[in-house]
Symmetry: D3
Subunit: 211 residues, 6 copies
């Protein structure tokens, strides 16, 4: 299974140049980007097209729950950049406005260096294309979820073959969580502190007093 790096490589600055040259030669020769390990040093050539990988995590986030946050954190470990993409979804009459939903996400991710939030309107695959994302991330909970997500993912693939959808599992204690249920519980006066971050809880309470 070993990948011959093409002979010994000197250490230090010259070794680095040597490595670069070799990689460039390979890159020009073959169809793929060949990363390799050298004396314990893993090397992934920066000019490989696959270097910077971005995942788009789309949703209504009306509002953000701890389940969403869990998926975001998991995705942030696998991708160089994660974009939480708030779908406008005017048709569904969200409780929070687009800007409110974006702000609630922004507050929650401010300490995650490779996560950002954005909003989009229109087709998801076109947004992913515009952002030059490689993957759509979706959290899976239960079977009915799975079916619908599968259908969406196949549809998106038909619309843009380049974009891959991957599914991640939230922590099993968030299996039951959904924005819809959280809103319903908050409306009925229940305590949602176990389901959403504190600032979302505050925003929910304020919003429900308004309505």
């Amino acid at each position: 299974m070993e990948r011959d790096p093409g002979g010994p490589v000197r250490s230090g600055r010259n070794g680095f140049r040597q490595l670069l040259r070799r990689q460039i030669a390979r890159q020009q020769a073959g169809p793929f980007c060949n990363p390799f390990d050298q004396s314990g040093v893993r090397w992934h050539p920066p000019w490989c097209g696959q270097t910077m990988r971005m995942a788009i995590y789309p949703g209504s986030f009306d509002p953000l729950t701890n389940g969403h946050l869990d998926v975001i954190q998991r995705a942030a470990k696998l991708f160089d950049q994660v974009v939480v993409a708030v779908a406008l979804n005017e048709g569904k009459k969200p409780l929070f406005s687009k800007d409110e939903r974006v702000r609630l996400v922004a507050d929650a991710i401010q300490d995650m260096g490779n996560v950002e939030v954005d909003a989009f309107d229109g087709l998801l695959v076109e947004y992913v294309d515009k952002r030059e994302g490689q993957a759509i991330v979706r959290g899976l909970r239960a079977v009915s979820d799975f079916e619908f997500e599968f259908q969406l993912a196949l549809m998106n693939r038909k619309l843009n073959e380049r974009v891959e959808t991957i599914f991640m599992m939230p922590k099993e204690t968030y299996t039951f969580l959904s924005s819809r249920l959280v809103k319903e519980i908050a409306r009925l006066g229940g305590d949602v502190s176990a389901f959403v971050p504190p600032h979302v809880q505050v925003a929910l309470a304020r919003k429900l007093r308004e309505v």
Copy 2:
């Protein structure tokens, strides 16, 4: 959310040095974007921290099908390195020996620069740990699949919280494919050329004559 590209960058060797300097400056300034470990060793866009991401794609591969190959190709676009990990699975009495199964995979992936094949015995999470993989990749087909995969993934997470499982969808034309069905059809004299690569078809025919 915008990431300031820091002005135009000259092409050529000087441009490269300029990029390095800029990246290092960013690295020192902020918590994120494309950092690297120095003399510690991991080196992604050589200067980034999350450097080399490896996905393990485990299975029996008894034998490799076109559905497996499809998942491998999709994973290879999202990860720096994909390891196809053939599970020993002596208990299941596989048709092909471990070595045969590894060889059939090896023949199929020889042109994919960032994919390798390996075999493992024992717990999957321990193997992933040993390989320093970040993710387990699993292909999803149908609901019953989904349930079992979900259960396995949660179990693996319990055994090693660090390892993430992600699910990918094979092409919908491979929805029906499974190694078990392929073997059964081959046994009954059916044509499996649409379901496995040519060299697997040949190996299947030879093996079934032996048995």
Copy 3:
């Protein structure tokens, strides 16, 4: 595993006292309540905390169907008291008013000694708490049902760890039944006499003439 009743017990009034004393002694000695059988008479000490068990069967009941009735009868055999709890559900714009739905249930359960009907607003778990119920009963029909019920049950458990949800199966001939389908069939002029009790059928016909 045998539970020694502590020697022969005389029949008649004195035997009864003897049993009581023995049970009290046991009760004080051990952490649990020890019921026992004596000469064909089952005896469950009334001072055991678990004696009176109440199950809450919540739903919209818009309107009550034979499937609901079937579940009620099954639950009434397992619990000392069953409360059919009609959820207000103003958001769903029910066909029948809260009072009408309660009355339709009341008419159907009048001969069941340990079943009562009630209405509630707000969180189910708070209602169960207020009523000091031990269990929420839900009828299961199909997979999609199962998923949603599971999610609800986990949510309710998060909100109140003390309350258990149990699932019961209606008779298989009611597998297809739902209030929604019954209303749709009635609206289209179909015969619903096989799906609801006669008084519900009458109420449906009257209500649909009004609307």
Copy 4:
């Protein structure tokens, strides 16, 4: 819905007799057993036919897991008596003998006053009948589980209309647990301390050394 307790009842021994007499009178008058609450004391007349309710929790328990224990504890809160019924299941070639499986359960439930363990051979419904149980308890985990459990429950109902099957949800952290997976992990040298009680872990280790 209120149940009139028939006026104030004296406290002390005479109050007790008074209660008894009232209850007997009610009992003779109506078709059902009417429990009532009196000044904070819940009273369920012991001569009511429904008093002593026994649930049978059948399974292979090869071996007992924390998921099983969780279901047992939940059932013990809802029933007067819970019988953990170890099925012989010779056909499935269990890892532990019937006696070993019974002993592992017995050790785990010794502090639960209203739980016992037993073994049975033959039809489950006949065993339930012999024990005069009212309900079969089954734990539900996932969809595939649900389907099979549903099928079994309907079959059992066909064989004995009197016996009810109820489904309970284990804690969501045990969603992934199964005896089969636990045995596989132990066989591969994994740590199962999070999945089974300590004495089962010890027994598993010893058994796997033997085999």
Copy 5:
């Protein structure tokens, strides 16, 4: 298993009469209609009650998709006559009017000799009865589909025992297709040419400009 045609049969007109006579004799003798093969010619007596079999394919068809068309073509090979039955469904506020939906179907099936389109209001089983159809045809896509379809089919059977529902599988590339998703994609400006026939695409574009 062979069905003796009763000796050689002459060819030509007389042979035809002979066949007729024989068949009539059989018909009168036995409870069923006995079709037979004679010298390569398959003969199914036209006076057999089961001769003309009609399948009803009901739906909203708002609008017709390639998935619908695929099911129609498959059903047309199995039945003598297929009626695509557009349900009025005013409650669901369809995008296209009943007449528009019928016309879009009519344009798509004009070259299929044994397929026609019709619209119906009221109960499906009553429509099937009026048309003297033998079967309701439904396309299956995913699990959630399956559950709902099963429920509907059982309900319809309760309402009219005579009518059978059969399920057919569309091509797997249409697994993801639904009228709802097509409309959503078209609304967001996506390209739906892979999902619907050209004339439906034109109609969708025109309709969405109007709205």
Copy 6:
């Protein structure tokens, strides 16, 4: 939607000839076979290629259950000929031999004029082809069934695009039935008279005494 039969048709022998001629003319003109109704008499031209439709109902039938019989009867109403095809399935080690299984089916269908039983070895699609069947019939019970059946059906379609698989629903009281469960109950001494025809019950009892 009406299909003009081409003007009034005389009754009697000449009318019959006239009809024949018209039909032949249409047949030659168009791509399809146009059946029609005339004065209450349904006429399906025997020379239409689609006339004689045969469905294959494959399975292990180890042994035949009332659920199988229910599907057979439903299929027999929709197809001209139904072939119950007993799969050899030596690998599964059936309880009854191939010949026994065929005989048990034969005894059950002897009064159904358009149903026959056969056995096959090898690929199902090849058998269907050899018999010139148009459709494979499968009974659906539950979700797990559905998934597997779907997979099989897609596989069969890949192997032979011409053959259609249709799914039918057994009576809901047979939802729980499977040959496996029936055998298990019989083995444990349970009464299976509600699940299989009397002659199968006898055969089961005899067979289990032998084993």
